[in-house]
Symmetry: C2
Subunit: 486 residues, 2 copies
Amino acid sequence: MNCPSCGVAIADAVMTETFLAEAARLLGPKGLTTDPDDMAPWLTDWRGRYTGAARAIASPANTAEVAALVKLCARHGVPIVPQGGNSGMSGGATPFESGREIILSLRRMNRITALDTAARSATCEAGVILQVLHEAAEKEGLRFPLTLGGKGSATIGGLVSTNAGGTQVLRHGSMRALVLGVEAVMADGSVLDLLTPLKKDNRGFDLKQVLIGSEGTLGIVTAATLRLAPAIAGRTVMWAGTASLHDARSLLLLAEDMAPGLLEGFEVLPQHSLEAVQAYTPGTRAPLTEPHAWHALIELVAGDEDTAARLPELAERILATAFERDLIADATIAASEDQAERMWLIRETISPAERALGPAMQHDISVPVEKMPAFVEAAVPRLEADWPGTRAVCFGHLGDGNVHFHVIAPPVSDRASWEAGDGKAISAQVHDMVVAWGGSISAEHGIGRLKRDELARLSDPTVLATMRAIKQALDPDGLLNPGKLV
Amino acid sequence: MNCPSCGVAIADAVMTETFLAEAARLLGPKGLTTDPDDMAPWLTDWRGRYTGAARAIASPANTAEVAALVKLCARHGVPIVPQGGNSGMSGGATPFESGREIILSLRRMNRITALDTAARSATCEAGVILQVLHEAAEKEGLRFPLTLGGKGSATIGGLVSTNAGGTQVLRHGSMRALVLGVEAVMADGSVLDLLTPLKKDNRGFDLKQVLIGSEGTLGIVTAATLRLAPAIAGRTVMWAGTASLHDARSLLLLAEDMAPGLLEGFEVLPQHSLEAVQAYTPGTRAPLTEPHAWHALIELVAGDEDTAARLPELAERILATAFERDLIADATIAASEDQAERMWLIRETISPAERALGPAMQHDISVPVEKMPAFVEAAVPRLEADWPGTRAVCFGHLGDGNVHFHVIAPPVSDRASWEAGDGKAISAQVHDMVVAWGGSISAEHGIGRLKRDELARLSDPTVLATMRAIKQALDPDGLLNPGKLV
């Protein structure tokens, strides 16, 4: 029966009330809110693509409270959307429109519980903000070598759950490579404590790996032990212009060979992206005087003073060798930290600058590293030919075989109708090509809500069946972030 | 009904016959044997601890045949024991005594299907022998940086399935760190193809990680793509005597700081082990003239000529600094490759030399790296006090927090009765101590049949429940290596 006044199912309303009363008792006044104003910012995803509804936002203070809350949800059949900084790119932390779910915010669990300089590790509760960990590590002469645009809001729990990437993956790997231990609350409210890092441990399946990147669908990450690296003693940043992406890749291999263990970043952008940034931020100076088909931004980083002192000379040798081999047409080395920052700012401004050009379909794709130049050369003209008036732009992490592949709408397109029509078909075509090249339709942003249908459409049936079997086994009632990923 | 003549259940015998006829048709004459002489070597494990029986040994020629065979087994309910080189340390590849199982040998699938020097990777069928891969990589100026005693028989499939370790884990990681892609046949005969390596891929759960180290209980690894490293341009091997394991660990940290990215091995052994080796191989010269409580064997490796040329001088500086800091009492640097080999030979002879001293319980354990010295100092005297006449000896991979912890029986012990009585209790005590220190009862040898009960006894219930749920989900009929691991 529904309420004759508001239309809500009465049984549901009664259940909600009982559930919320118990949750409030469990979590205390700071731990639960149903206030629409308090809830509003957390109901819409970072990119503004989805807006959902929730019974409440629960904010437990510690792992025991998370466990108790999950047990309560299991008893009442209440689905849970875990949420950290709400900075995900695929809508994975946003509730659906039904209003049946609760948001489980980990933000109150924001303590760094251990920072071991000898072992070079930090143990963080899930709600620790990435930038806070950066600062804490820096104070101890160390660093956490993963960073990304949302570092001021992204949390450790979210970064673990989405296996986040960023611009330092080339040298340090994605989050998976930096996670030494994990603690998670499972669907039945039990606590899986795998926080203690062991360098070697062959006691069966590596459950930590199962949780990393599972987007809250198999368990709720409540804490993680993370690997730290020595602080940066010095860096040298270069900018080079190349005639092709093949040349840029040869330059990358050359830099890896000549500076083993020191190459921390290798990003590429086409001339189009550089000009978009200049249009978006007037006064931005191009690092090189002439235009080039492709630009490479290269960073060498040393952890000790001796090596740091050798970096500029090493950078010069790399560029000189690249000139000799005709890999680059022009290049410059940042003469100061300020110049280096300005080079990186260009890279970081590409996304908003490209967005300002009008509607675009954005794809976060990877192919086997060595195939990326050929893929881009094949895919870009193909798309532009098939969709007259569009412009395809690729930029990003060449060293990881991962570029952001944007297809900009023809001028005067109406955003909503273009996105829903041609845009959707373009995305399907990009994804089809990526799969044909043995690549991934989500290199670093995860699946969430955004790519769930595409994952189902394009995954190998055995992969999908195996993922679904694991999901069913670990969350038989489907209460952990349902409708996301798988 | 049982056969009045031989006592075998008749239904079972009929089923076996039907099944074997179909399997023979599927695999051809080279692909199936029931000949007792052919089968005998593969029914007993490497250490001679278990001898089982099997209906047959199936040796498919390719992944399609593996898949067809697994489907046939599923139809007939025949349990499968996957086997590579039969060099496992925990009985994981040995059938049980019932005779109901078949052995699925991957040894015929022994082709290296790709060796990509630019991408520095090799794709191998499961039956490729480790040493064969070593040699193939060497020919291309590369190397596969994992090695262990059984390299002449251990296969890639077995190494992946057991997440094998060895003496180069310190720098290159265990097998898990070297596996870029995996192909496996799942319990229903479907093929999970994750062979194409992508540096970045966030399409849901990382199923490759689920298979690595699962000991054939979740799927049968049929191929893997592996990371290769640059060939060794030069190495320098040192030997140092220290007064304590704490000093040895300080020496390790010093070497890591002074030779970042170059430290490939750091093994420790007590004076007892050195003397055991000298007794076992008469004529073995101790690298240092005086006895020392602990000995450290240290190897620096360079991938390029320039760095290789600097290694001897770097080794001298490390040892000089260690002397200054009173970390070592004496040390020597191998003056030739021959001397270096002889130092490593001492390390490699410890296991047989200690075994020759009489019955011993062997444990392959790890604790958090930084705790290992304190653990050994606490555990060794405790055990020797609780079990008068025993001698506890630890040696191995200090840099990985992983030592082989042997407890030698009192003299004149009867092997079988000591192992079954006091020996068993001693093992339980060692494992209890390891768990109390946050460690692992199997650092690198896996669980197999040997440690299954101890795993069940000592695992956190949530860990165990999660592993069992995954096993149940991916192998609902329990036909993949049943009775092993979980």
